[in-house]
Amino acid sequence: MSPADPLERLIADWLGNTISPEDFRILDARLRADPAARATLRRAAHLDSALRDWAARQEISAAWAGADSAKPSLASDRPLTPTASSPFRRWLWPLAAAAAVALSVATYHFGALSAPQPPTPSTRVLADGTVVELNGAAVIAADFSATERRVRLERGEAHFTVTKDAARPFTVTAAGVSVRAVGTAFNVRLADAAVEVLVTEGQVRLQPPPAAAAPGHSPSAPPAQPAAAPELMLAARQRAIVATTPATAAVAPDVATFTPSEIARVLAWQHRLLNFTATPLGEVVAALNRRNATQLVLADPELAALRVSASLRSDNIHGFVKLLETGFAMRAEPRGDAEIVLSRPP
């Protein structure tokens, strides 16, 4: 069947979420009347489903092999997000949670996905107590002295929660961009042609790299010193993108103020798949609370001892609560904007 076929076009528009209401009615009529049309839609949906599985398998394999940075390709600048895991996992984990200790079943369940797992974010605590969350294959090098703390981001993306020490400023450098803080938290992402800095707490002093010599500079004249770029103060929720290629280094950093949800999106990579096997609910709640603004509160201390097996993303608080409601008949009630109180049914 060619793409020009009207039925094929209607089905492509339907599966591509671009169908008009009028065309949807035409498609519905065709499907109602014609078994061959339904078979065509089934085939197209099967292909779509198989392609998505294939893409998920490729992504996981590439992440494992570190191939994204090694091979220039259309996908090479795609950040590796542990969140982009196989579609299987995203909706299958509730089964394990709903039925509690289901380790053997979950193993069988997830065993169907034989591809290796992508690198997950990792946490590194520096000598001064600063906590660094490293995204996937990010690489840092720390160099601390009595008077300063310097960290070089050599690759990837990292979030720094800096321990206060006014006597020893904390500076992160990436591709000539330096970010200086005392006690604050910020995210730095080193891309091919830019460094992105997002402040999540406190403020930082941002020093862009020196600008390149002005275009048109005479080759016979003495080499000009690169002009020092002006410093920039960034406050919490501000994000700056600093160009780092010689051609664009003179461009002023692009600064924007982010909403909490935009910040959450940028930092979503920090969330990871958490696996619990017959783990006391108290521990599961503590692990989720450490990683989320929304806090779970166990109203009944006995609940803390309830053992739970689950495989879930660390930001899926509401999904987890829903499963406790459905799988364990718990009650969940919001308290204020940032707490959910879990209790046994009356």
């Binding site: 793409p3 089934r42 259309l74 996908a75 982009a84 909706w91 089964l95």
Partner: protein
């Protein structure tokens, strides 16, 4: 009998749960393709599959052993899909009952040839160029957004959409040829 089996209390999965998971996993591929046919985006499909797995588990006590599990769970999925679109005010994208009934019945009757189709797909993907596979990879990775992928590949949204549709049509033709040449 309760609507769903009692949650296992810390000593391991119950036989009912094991049976449910075994059945669900065995039919997951065809169920997902069925749900995909009823919904316009993968985000919709993921949510409906999640809800379907929960609802099906809750109702599993009502499933008659020995009958067609796929037919049973597809009925649940069909209503979950309908409910999903209604709750989001997208009633104009709900197939008529007649179409949904027919699709569910036919999905339950079709032979399980997923593995065969998957091999055919792998073979057909191998015939594409590297850039074409990259385009599909970007377009089908979980969470992919049309606008973002189009921008990344240097195409207009319309141009990107057409390029993907051409590749899909080519793959469908190729898979059909493979399956005819080497029937399961």
């Amino acid at each position: 009998m309760p609507d769903h089996p009692e949650p296992p209390a810390g000593s391991g999965p119950t036989p009912a749960y094991e049976e449910f998971v075994r059945l669900f996993v065995a039919h997951e591929g065809r169920l997902r393709a069925f749900v995909r046919a009823l919904l316009p985006t993968w985000a919709d499909v993921d949510e409906v599959m999640q809800e379907t797995s929960l609802v099906a588990w809750r109702k599993f006590a009502r499933f008659e052993r020995g009958t067609n599990f796929l037919a049973w769970v597809a009925t649940i999925a069909r209503f979950e899909a309908l409910d999903h679109l209604r709750r989001r005010g997208r009633e104009q994208l709900i197939f008529s009952d007649a179409v949904a009934d027919l699709m569910a019945a036919e999905a339950a009757q079709e032979a399980d040839t997923l593995e065969h189709q998957r091999r055919a797909l792998d073979h057909c993907l191998a015939k594409l160029g590297e850039a074409q596979r990259e385009l599909l990879l970007l377009s089908y990775q979980p969470g992919a957004r049309l606008h973002e992928v189009a921008a990344r590949t240097g195409r207009t949204v319309q141009g990107h959409y057409k390029a993907v549709q051409r590749l899909r049509a080519r793959l469908l033709d190729c898979i059909e040829g493979e399956l005819k040449r080497d029937p399961a």
